[in-house]
């Protein structure tokens, strides 16, 4: 379930955003959690915001922090170098911040330093890419990458069945191949396909950039003269992927996306895309909220539980023409 997703529009930040799905309709508005408490310093470090989704992650985190007058945010933004990110966390430890929100370039690689922060008495909220040790984070908010792959694969199976495609050709355009999250997505996709007796016929990996998406998609189209279903992991690179389809004049397949950018939602509305699997960029914003609560020793008012939970996994729902209206506001600019 999605907890306290916020919109990207800064002007809406002042009002407490409603939990979108699952949770109670009145959100956390009823509790005293949004009342200003003692000022807390939160350190936030994320990977290099080199594409739309990550930029949205950073922006929404910063906007979220700005919406609280009792939060002072220190950002150490922007690196794909674990060594540098470790040193950024060390800086936070030196400064003695009250909590750290960490979206690591790689969960395992930042575990050592996160443990050190925890040992120094600074609670760490782990976002999106999970640490390899349970002692490294006070709370963990995860997008469900494996679930994303499952959703995409299941949806693909559904399409095959509904349209009665015999011997379908299934293609996959992955993101940066060496990231665990990409592998999780691909694994989920393969598992779900296996459930309906299918497998990926052609796979390429792009780099989350428009250019690489276009390049790899063009190569993919060349490699497979006829395709029935394509799953593209990431709607940012999807802009390029889509352009490659247009360039080649190919649209014989069902095109499924990932993440849920504004563009993707638009295409779904226009009928140019079948569906996209949501992967909200608001996790870090949620992380800021949790960090604030933890630092101020508060709990989550929607839960009976007194304290903030240790682990929250976000849902990865499928957005298609039937429900796109409900998700439009979540779409981020890629």
């Amino acid at each position: 379930f999605v907890v306290g997703c916020t919109s990207n529009e800064p002007e809406e930040e002042d009002q407490p955003a409603a939990a979108e799905t699952g949770g109670g309709d009145d959100g956390d508005g009823g509790s005293g959690n949004d009342e200003p408490g003692e000022t807390v310093v939160i350190g936030f470090s994320g990977p290099e915001a080199d594409h739309g989704w990550l930029a949205a992650v950073n922006d929404s985190a910063i906007a979220e922090a700005e919406s609280y007058e009792d939060v002072e945010l220190r950002t150490a933004e922007g690196t794909n170098d674990a060594n540098l990110q470790i040193s950024q966390i060390e800086t936070f430890i030196n400064e003695g911040v009250d909590a750290i929100v960490l979206l690591p370039t790689d969960g395992a690689q930042l575990t050592e330093v996160a443990i050190r922060a925890m040992e120094a008495g600074i609670p760490v909220v782990n976002v999106d890419r999970e640490f390899s040790s349970p002692f490294a984070a006070r709370a963990t908010i995860l997008g469900d990458n494996h679930g994303m792959g499952i959703s995409a694969g299941t949806y693909a199976c559904q399409l095959i069945e509904e349209n009665g495609i015999a011997d379908p050709v299934i293609a996959e355009i992955a993101g940066i191949d060496s990231l665990p999250l990409t592998q999780d997505r691909s694994r989920g996709f393969a598992e779900a396909l296996e459930a309906c007796g299918q497998e990926v016929d052609n796979r390429v990996a792009a780099e989350f950039t428009v250019e690489s998406g276009e390049e790899q998609a063009a190569n993919l189209l060349q490699a497979a003269p006829q395709i029935d279903i394509i799953w593209n992991h990431d709607d940012d690179q999807g802009v390029g992927v889509k352009q490659a389809f247009d360039n080649a004049g190919r649209d014989e397949f069902f095109f499924i996306g990932g993440a849920g950018s504004a563009n993707a939602m638009q295409w779904i509305q226009d009928g140019e895309m079948e569906a996209t699997i949501l992967y909200p960029p608001t996790q870090a914003a949620d992380g800021i909220r949790l960090a604030r609560l933890i630092a101020q020793n508060k709990g989550m008012s929607d839960l009976v539980q007194v304290e903030v939970p240790r682990r929250i996994v976000l849902n990865a729902p499928v957005v298609n023409a039937d429900n796109v209206e409900d998700y439009l506001h979540l779409g981020f600019e890629s």
Binding site: H51, R203, V210, E211, N247, N263
Partner: protein, 318 residues
């Protein structure tokens, strides 16, 4: 001096071997006009940058900022303001803006190197950081969609059945070849790269010429920027990543000396084709990216060693 054919014999051989491998492993999917066009279209953008890079390297320099300049020019050409103006006037305005941005960056590089006395590696490393940062600031890290359809339709379209991108690459290559081999500009480039002191004492304005070389490369980056903009339908701060390594690799595989003073446009073109064909063959064979990387490393080594052996032999027999 041996004929350009002889000099590039090893390279051509390497390319042919690669094609044979492609034909053998991927069959009809490789030996197919559409596929050839795909390869060429893919090669066209990095190709234009590499032609420009050839001049800078022959002139004794190097430029690490080409990818960043490509990104900056694509972003600048697709800002709301530029696009609005282009809607009002003509899409060529966007082309002009991209080229102007490229030339501007090249000018800064050139002036820092020639008049500031900075090492090319360092000056362009600074530009590498600054131009990409600026591109991100301007685009606010968003991908800017192109609404001016004329640009995309024309440059990403076809002319006489061949993609306009490939025409542009062909035109830039031809101009580059003539410039290097048939004009005083080309001669001066070789002189400046071969022996800057001798060139200066022979009355060549070495500093001014050096600036010009980076401007030429900047212009090539601007052209590549608008090509990439049209091809992807977007301007983005992430465009052109690793172009610096790709372009330098293509130029050097093509036989241009990194120390300057010697090099050919034809070699560069073949170098670009080797790399793009390689990627195509890999994709057609569904190779995963790690295996691709290892194979790429091995092939670079083989291609270069082959080229050396063959050119030594052909020089002997001449």
């Amino acid at each position: 001096m041996s004929s350009p054919f002889g000099r590039n014999l090893g390279l051509i051989l390497a390319l042919l071997v690669l094609c044979a491998v492609g034909a053998f492993t991927a069959g009809d999917r490789f030996v197919d006009t559409d596929n050839m066009v795909t390869i060429l279209r893919f090669a066209s953008i990095i190709g234009v940058v590499s032609i420009g890079m050839t001049f800078v390297i022959i002139g004794g320099g190097i430029d690490l900022s080409v990818g960043a300049i490509v990104a900056l020019s694509s972003v600048w050409a697709t800002t709301l303001a530029t696009q609005t103006m282009a809607e009002d006037t003509h899409w060529l305005l966007m082309v002009f803006v991209a080229c102007a941005v490229g030339v501007g960056c090249g000018l800064v590089n050139g002036i820092l190197i020639a008049y500031g006395g900075m090492a090319p590696f360092i000056a362009t490393l600074a530009m590498f950081a600054a131009a990409r940062g600026l591109a991100e600031i301007i685009s606010e890290k968003r991908t800017q969609l192109v609404d001016v359809r004329g640009l995309v339709d024309t440059i990403n379209g076809e002319f006489l059945g061949i993609p306009v991108l490939v025409w542009i690459f062909a035109a830039v290559s031809t101009i580059g070849w003539v410039l290097l081999n048939r004009t005083t500009f080309g001669r001066r480039t070789i002189a400046v790269g071969g022996n800057a002191t001798a060139a200066r004492l022979a009355g060549i304005a070495v500093k001014r010429h050096t600036v010009l070389l980076y401007v030429v490369l900047g212009l090539a980056c601007g052209i590549a920027g608008i090509m990439l903009t049209a091809r992807t339908g977007t301007g983005s701060g992430t465009h052109g990543q690793l172009y610096e390594l790709d372009a330098i690799a293509a130029v050097v595989i093509g036989g241009t000396l990194l120390t300057g003073g010697r090099g050919t446009i034809v070699g560069t073109i073949i170098g670009v084709l080797i790399f793009t064909t390689l990627t195509n063959v890999f994709t057609l064979n569904n190779l995963d990216s790690s295996t691709q990387a290892v194979a790429k490393g091995a092939i670079i080594v083989i291609a270069v060693l082959l080229q050396q052996r063959v050119s030594v032999r052909s020089a002997d027999s001449s």
